[in-house]
Amino acid sequence: MSSVAGLLALLLHLALVLAGAPLLLGLLRLIKARMVGRAGPPVLQPWRDLLRLMRKQPVVADGTSWLFRSAPAVALAATCTAAALVPSFALGMTTAPVGDLLVIGGLLALGRAVLALAAMDSGTAFGGIGASREMTFSVFAEPVFFLIVFTLALITGSTNLDTASSVVNAGVGLRISMALGLVATTTLAIAECGRVPVDNPASHLELTMVHEAMVLEYSGRHLAMIEFTAALKLLLWMSVIAVLFCPFGIAPHDGPGATLAPWLWLLGIAAWAAKMVLLAVALAVFETIQAKMRVFRVPELLGMALLLGLLAVIFLFVSQGFAQGAP
């Protein structure tokens, strides 16, 4: 893909992702509402909320430092950067050489750490409880993430998301490791995005909150940025699952897509949108039939994901051992 096409793909990708993140959240809420028999808000509601929040003047808690006021922007910038590195409809974007999976994990960790610090800065008990729980979960999520990266790097030979995705797209066959990795990644995504059963984003009970407890003190444009960050993070994790485990339909870097091929891009966008909607439906169904877990059960859930990740890697070693042993 030429550099112009790469840049165009990146700009289109950013426009799609930034516009699509609140829509995905709206769709998710709508489906969940319909499933429990409510009419539900329109799909555009998250966008309307964001625009409304932007027009409200924020109230900042007394005694907080500059970090409290700048944290939402830093978290959003880190998440936007990570979102620019995860391909959606086309591979070979300008940012592809930077798009290492570990870097994406690091950027998400940056966003999380900054918001946890801001929660501590508010000086309230709820901020502390949210930050403490969020960081505790991250301690158990990080090993899962690295084992997934490990599995993918062993299969595809690279930790770069773009390269890994193109190898998977070219066909790696049906692998048990990929299936185990998919389950582990999905669990991790649910934990990272603070969805049921790890955390309930619609909770009204402060004592059960994790992510929401961290951002209780925010209002106005700060809250808008935080809400947008959460929506973007959900879309980002869904895109990661799509691009790694079912990259079908994504516009490749070479071959016929080497030149500007609008129909391949259109196909890629359609495939990506379809995958996002499917994942949103799946998540909505899952969230509706699940109850939120106790905080101290979450490490068990992530421990299960860790075991699956370990199994995925070990299966890979065993199968490679067989492949080397065969004549």
């Binding site: 930077v98 090993p143 773009d162 003190e217 070990i314």
Partner: protein
């Protein structure tokens, strides 16, 4: 051969030692100013030497052990560590100038400590390295007990000097085993150890210099000693001294024992490295003293370096030179990055201890507004501690994770599963360090002040601020240009594993495979900057700017009363509260934590008690049995006092005969 760089650095050793004597007879400022100038010049010399290709040089001194001369040497490996030592030393000396009108009585030991560390690095024979190492231990002991009027400091000092003695004995024994054909490093290299000798050397090196570096299980001295010393001294101990011990490990295991060692040599390093990393990072989440948290994180980081060294040793034995280069590069980059950012963090901790009147996290809070420069420096250091991109901590951890990924090529299924567990444990340690960094910064710097002294905290003096600024600039540059630091490490990689990072490390970034995509810090930083500017523009165009203040909503608790302007400190999350979930989940596994609740019956007026007890597994499973054994042995020896004269004489004669037999056997060997 004698290069000008070596001659200058050798005279720097002499100057620093002489400065110690001069300081004893004049004012403390003399020692600190002298150390500042010598270290600054030494840093420039080391940098020029490394950029100039690091030609190995040797210098024979006309004095030393009876009848022998002492050899000093400089090559790419020691050059890199000299650079780190000199940078860290410059910053620590500058920060020491701000003594608040109370010059420490132990000031003469400061330049001696620096000189001893430099001597250890420049050693070209077994005598010089032992002399430097032991002098380093002694000088740092003097500095640790600076405030010896406190009981905890004396206890830390006793533990420290005891462990230093063990480390010294192990180092001397290891070098004695190596120096069968002469004590110069050239003679040792010509006759590398084999068989059981090599295995014993490995064990002694891991116990001796390993304990000095803070490797589990001999790490227990480190948190109390680093917490007790004055700020600049703990900065130097954590940033530089642990790295000197790492250097001695590298010199003995990689260089002097030769490349012909088996693959399993890497495994003890991996095991001890992983244990240190996980345990250190967990304890960093539990400690409530700012300096103890930083010291525990030093244990973690030394663990990460040791894992890199372990992978490199195994890869070198398996002839995977590219992997050895990557792992060694990761270890050396982490040594430099951690050396500088930990120096920065300890200077911040020292500034907080003076400025806010305490280093207990439960008495701090809200310092980012009262000590803005220290606070910002600590934020940067915290980002490195947590390994967040694009900080200096991330690049080396990225390389380390990549080298662990590559380590699956080392051997069969058994080793691969070991590597897999190593990978998960490494990620756990890094995540725990992130959590500890958020806790440290969040409790100490943010929120509301927790004590009257924290409300009235004052910013550090100009020398400390300049030292912080210099270190922060260097740490920032390392984060953005890790390839440049790896360029300085190129001679070391060539000397240690006959490998390089050609095509894998350049000005833009680092990658695991030549000419493949890797980690591009500049790209990440640029994208972050673009995103931030974009967000600003959108906000400017669309949002209501500005904000108004008000009491924290806190779910309706409302404003604090007038007589508590910062609210009740107890309603804020404490350091202990923050890590409670982690202690509850991992505590029983890692530190045998137990909780006992004593709840009085209704009507009983005595208070309810919740007691938490935890113990480092090293003190529980290693030191406690040794102490018990010692008590038992002294009980046995006690019986000797009640023997008759005849029995005592027969014991003495038997001992003499046994000793003669022992010598006869040694002669036969």
């Amino acid at each position: 051969m004698s290069g000008p760089a070596l001659a200058v650095l050798a005279s720097a050793v002499g100057l620093l030692l002489a400065l110690g004597v001069a300081t004893a007879f004049s004012r403390a400022k003399v020692g600190f100013w002298g150390a500042l100038l010598v270290c600054g010049a030494g840093a420039v010399v080391a940098l020029v030497y490394l950029i100039g290709g690091a030609e190995p040089a040797m210098l024979t001194l006309p004095f030393g052990l009876a009848g022998q001369s002492t050899i000093l040497a400089l090559d790419g490996i020691s050059g890199l560590f000299v650079l780190l030592l000199m940078l860290s030393g410059t910053a620590a000396a500058a920060a020491s100038l701000d003594d608040h009108g109370h010059p420490p009585a132990t000031a003469p030991a400061f330049p001696v400590f620096l000189g001893a560390m430099l001597l250890t690095l420049l050693a070209g024979d077994a005598f010089a390295v032992v002399a430097g190492f032991e002098l380093m231990s002694l000088a740092s002991f003097v500095l640790v007990v600076t405030s010896h009027r406190e009981q905890s400091v004396r206890a830390a000092g006793v533990l420290y000097i005891g462990m230093a003695a063990i480390a010294g004995v192990c180092l001397i024994a290891a070098l004695a085993l190596l120096s069968a054909h002469g004590i110069s490093f050239a003679a040792i290299r010509a006759h590398p150890p084999e068989g059981w000798r090599a295995a014993v050397v490995l064990a002694l090196v891991l116990l001796g210099p390993g304990s000095k570096a803070g490797l589990a299980p001999l790490h227990v001295w480190l948190p109390p000693a680093h917490a007790s010393a004055p700020g600049p001294v703990s900065a130097l101990m954590s940033g530089a001294m642990t790295k000197i011990a790492v250097y001695v490990m590298i010199r003995l295991l990689f260089d002097l024992c030769g490349p012909a060692q088996p693959l399993w040599w890497g495994l003890p390093l991996l095991a001890m490295g992983l244990a240190s990393a996980v345990l250190g990072a967990f304890r960093a989440n539990v400690e409530t003293d700012v300096k103890a948290v930083l010291a525990c994180s030093t244990i973690e980081n030394i663990g990460l370096v040791t894992i890199g060294l372990g992978v490199a040793l195994a890869a070198r034995a398996a002839d995977l030179s590219a992997l050895a280069g990557l792992a060694l590069g990761a270890a050396l980059l982490h040594v430099i990055a951690h050396g500088l950012f930990k120096t920065l963090l300890f200077l911040c901790a020292g500034a907080i201890q003076y400025g806010a009147g305490s280093r207990l996290m439960g008495r701090l809070g809200g310092l980012l507004q009262r000590m803005p420069i220290t606070g910002c420096a600590m934020l940067l250091g915290g980002a490195c501690l947590a390994g967040l991109p694009p900080s200096a901590g991330f690049a080396s951890e990225w390389m380390l994770l990549q080298s662990v990924l590559g380590a699956v090529r080392l051997g069969g299924l058994g080793l691969q599963i070991v590597v897999c567990v190593l990978a998960a444990g490494l990620a756990l340690a890094i995540a725990l360090a992130g959590c500890a960094a958020v806790r440290l910064v969040g409790v100490a710097l943010l929120g509301r002040p927790r004590s009257a002294t924290a409300i009235a905290a004052v910013e550090a003096g100009p020398p400390v601020r300049w030292a912080m600024l210099g270190l922060a600039v260097m740490v920032g540059l390392i984060g953005l240009f890790p390839g440049a630091v790896l360029g300085l490490a190129a001679p070391a990689l060539r000397a240690l594993a006959d490998t390089n990072l050609a095509g894998r490390a350049d000005a833009l970034g680092v990658s695991a495979i030549a000419r493949a995509q890797g980690y591009v810090p500049l790209g990440v930083a640029l994208l972050l900057a673009i995103a931030a500017v974009g967000i600003m523009l959108v906000l400017r165009a669309r949002a209501i700017l500005g904000h108004r203040g008000g009491p924290a909503w806190d779910c309706g608790f409302g404003a604090p009363p007038d007589w508590l302007p910062f609210g009740d400190p107890l309603t804020q999350y404490s350091a202990g509260g923050f890590s409670q979930p982690l202690r509850r989940i991992l505590g029983p596994v890692l530190v045998s934590a137990t909780v006992s609740v004593d709840m009085p019956r209704p009507g009983d007026t005595r208070p309810a008690m919740l007691r938490e007890h935890s113990q480092d597994p090293a003190s529980q499973y290693l030191f406690a049995p040794i102490a018990a054994l010692r008590a038992h042995m002294s009980g046995l020896a006690d019986r000797m006092q009640f023997l008759t004269v005849r029995q005592i004489l027969s014991v003495m004669v038997t001992a003499l005969i046994l000793f003669l037999i022992f010598i006869a056997v040694l002669e036969q060997l």
